[in-house]
């Protein structure tokens, strides 16, 4: 592995630094080409979002000076970004990429956008042609890991925002939201968002009451709902299962007696009041009524933060998955390293065998086809018997830490050095012939 990753994110760099390092989408292909031209870089990918800018490369041998690439590209002096940079190599770089893709490194852990952003970056880099062999493998794996984390842990499944917490609570009360009615009292941004969430989860219709009727009508039109005169609020409110209030009223507009009235009219079917107004629109006394549930903005926020705790627990499980995946990926790459070695070893010996047969053929005189076959079988048999142990050693070494050492030794013993390059480049399959030719 010759992976290297350098970058800044929301944790290490303030937004002033991040925005100077950000690369807009339109200029990304150009930046990728510049990166590919940087000395030593074989493959590269650049991820630039509002929370992070990261450059990941695969180099033929040794480390690449990615810091100088950043300096050159952005025309910045190192002091501007140096203190905020982080740099990872080899398996640490792999782990970081896995964490980013799985949304464990995000500002809001578990948010789903980042995976799409990495996929876009990958698509761009592929289109430019700077991602082909090993990075391709790595990124594909990273997407699979992200999917695993998503399906096997609850990271990303619990509610994040106040609006989605409201939906979750509503589901705790009503089960399915199918056919439930939502009543917006006061037309604010946040209550609109909450209503949108509720509708997305199946809530049926929307009523809107607002001090200014026009505004109510506008909002109702957006949801294909029904605008209601503010004066008729108390007569109509019992129709709603979920009431979202966000008026600027200085006093509570829903008091205990209203709740009792609604319940009597609704035959005690439960009602859920979401009060996002400050000062509050719903008298907390109402929560004491059987069948009425009142959550104010603080209650919702508290529920949000308890979800954040849950996420932390799930994130730990996700980290464990990632650790396992990094190991698996390492092994996978090493297998790729071993296979060309085995192939070139076999090719090498085959060439020797052919050369030796050719050399002694003259001395053997004319051979019958049976004899020809026997010579062939004899020489092949000797080689495969001898090679059996080294090849199986190579194969088993894959999963062990000394894999690279074993591969190196085999290469040096049989003088396979120059072969590796060609295999790495994935040039042609038939490269076997020429390396052994010297012997």
């Amino acid at each position: 592995m010759k992976f290297q990753l350098i970058g800044v994110n929301h944790k290490t760099a303030p937004v002033e630094v991040r925005e100077r390092l950000a690369i807009p989408e339109s200029r990304l292909p150009d930046a990728l080409r510049r990166l590919a031209g940087h000395p030593g870089v074989e493959e590269g990918i650049i991820l630039s979002t509002c929370n992070r800018v990261e450059v990941l490369t695969q180099a033929k041998n040794g480390a690449v000076d990615l810091r100088s690439f950043l300096g050159n590209y952005f025309q910045l002096s190192p002091s501007d970004y140096e203190p905020h940079l982080y740099e990872y190599r080899e398996s640490e770089a792999v782990r970081h990429l896995f964490r980013v893709t799985s949304s464990l490194d995000s500002m809001v852990v578990g948010e789903p956008q980042i995976l799409g952003q990495v996929k876009e970056a990958y698509a761009t880099a592929r289109a430019v042609g700077v991602v082909h062999s090993q990075l391709d493998l790595l990124l594909t794996r990273a997407f699979a890991v992200a999917k695993r984390v998503r399906t096997e842990t609850a990271v990303g499944s619990s509610a994040v925002s106040v609006a989605s917490v409201a939906v979750e609570l509503a589901k705790k009360i009503f089960g399915s939201l199918q056919g439930k009615h939502v009543y917006l009292v006061g037309a604010g941004k946040m209550s609109e968002l909450a209503a949108r969430h509720l509708i997305a989860h199946g809530a049926e219709s929307i009523f809107v009451a607002n001090r200014t009727y026009d505004r109510a009508q506008q909002l109702a039109a957006r949801f294909e709902g029904q605008a209601i005169l503010f004066e008729q609020l108390y007569e109509t409110c019992d129709r709603a299962d979920i009431v979202i209030t966000s008026t600027g009223a200085p006093h509570a507009i829903f008091r205990r007696e209203h709740g009792e009235l609604f319940l009597a009219r609704r035959k005690n079917r439960p009602m859920f009041f979401i009060d996002i107004a400050v000062p509050r629109d719903v008298d907390p006394e109402m929560n004491r009524l059987d069948g009425i549930f009142v959550y104010d903005i603080d209650d919702l926020q508290q529920a949000v933060s308890s979800h954040v705790d849950d996420r932390k627990k799930e994130a730990e499980r996700a980290e464990a998955i990632i650790t396992g995946e990094v190991e698996r990926f390492k092994i996978r790459l090493q297998t790729l390293d071993v296979v060309p070695t085995i192939v070139s070893l076999q090719d090498h010996l085959e060439t020797i065998r052919q050369a030796e047969i050719d050399r002694v053929r003259g001395r053997l005189g004319p051979l019958s086809p049976e004899q020809e076959l026997a010579v062939e079988a004899l020489t092949r048999g000797i080689i495969s018997k001898i090679m059996h142990t080294p090849i199986s050693t190579l194969k088993t070494a894959v999963s062990q830490p000394e894999a690279t050492t074993v591969v190196d030794i085999v290469r040096r013993l049989f003088d396979l050095q120059d072969k590796k390059k060609q295999d790495d480049k994935n040039a042609t399959k038939s490269s076997g012939g020429d390396s052994g030719a010297k012997t």
């Binding site: 609570l169 589901k171 705790k172 009360i173 009503f174 089960g175 399915s176 609704r266 035959k267 005690n268 079917r269 439960p270 929560n287 059987d290 069948g291 549930f293 959550y295 209650d299 508290q302 529920a303 308890s306």
Partner: protein, 281 residues
């Protein structure tokens, strides 16, 4: 007769005790479910309870086959039969709503009923002539289905209270997160109440017809008859208030508790009633 009774009872009671062991797992589930959350609990408790049901069923069937008398055997194993009915009702709820939460209340009850059945059975002597009527079985079966529905409804109303409390406390404790939604619990309770009511009513009607045929009249002052009617009245009030005023939550739980208490008292009246007594003490 007592000797033959003992011999007859041996195998069914063995199966019943095996069933009891499985039901003990359910009891454990109920105790643990209140303090921790784990899906493992579900995965263990549900199969264990199902196995318990199988053994209990075997025990009852064998009792019927050995005694060659459906009614006699069901009277004698009434606690066991009732707990099997309650479990069946629980399973129906599980199949429809995919929730094991009512088990928190139902499993201990089933355990206690089976425990009583498995430990206190004595050779029996019929003291009531009415017992010999074959179709008395209808009366027993109907009443027991009604009981089972009532217990499920009772369990649901307790769960409703729990869930309502946690929602009101605004700190959703972790176990309560796994309870079904409030309205689903409400539906379970209401539906089993509605389903149970006709069975209970028909069961009582069947019982009074048997009694009338045997004695020629109904003695409303007999404790069994009186308490049964009282229980039926509470049951009807429950159905009515729920249907008419939508009573749920705390008030429904009080009513359900009342109905269950009335049912238990009516049951225990077997020990005092002269016309219904089948227990020789």
């Amino acid at each position: 007769m007592p000797d033959r009774g003992l011999q007859i009872l041996f195998m069914p009671i063995l199966w019943l005790r095996v069933a009891l062991c499985f039901y003990a797992v359910g009891l454990l589930y109920a105790l643990l479910a209140l303090t921790r959350t784990s899906s493992l609990l579900n995965r263990v408790a549900l199969p264990a309870m199902s196995l318990g049901m199988v053994f209990q069923f075997v025990s009852l069937t064998e009792a019927v086959l050995l005694s060659r008398q459906l009614t006699l055997a069901s009277v004698h194993n009434s606690e066991s039969l009732l707990s099997l009915m309650v479990m069946a009702a629980f399973m129906i709820v599980y199949v429809v709503y995919r929730t094991t939460s009512p088990g928190i209340v139902v499993f201990p009850l089933v355990f206690v009923l089976t425990f009583v059945a498995a430990t206190t059975q004595q050779p029996f002597l019929l003291t009531s002539p009415g017992m010999r009527r074959g179709w008395l079985f209808v009366h027993i079966a109907m009443i027991f289905v009604g009981y089972a529905a009532l217990f499920i409804s009772f369990a649901a109303s307790l769960l409703y209270l729990l869930q309502e409390r946690s929602l009101k406390a605004k700190k959703p404790a972790t176990i309560l997160l796994r309870l079904p939604a409030l309205e689903v619990i409400d539906q379970i309770g209401y539906r089993s109440l509605l389903l149970g009511f006709p069975f209970m009513t028909l069961g009582l009607v069947a019982g009074s017809i048997v009694a009338q045929a045997t004695y020629g009249r109904l003695d409303f002052l007999d404790p069994k008859i009186f308490l049964s009617l009282l229980m039926w009245a509470v049951y009807m009030v429950m159905v009515f208030t729920r249907w008419n005023a939508g009573w749920r939550g705390r008030r429904a739980a009080y009513l359900a508790t009342g109905a269950v208490v009335a049912a238990v008292i009516a049951w225990s009246a077997n020990y005092y009633s002269t016309i219904h007594g089948f227990v020789q003490s």
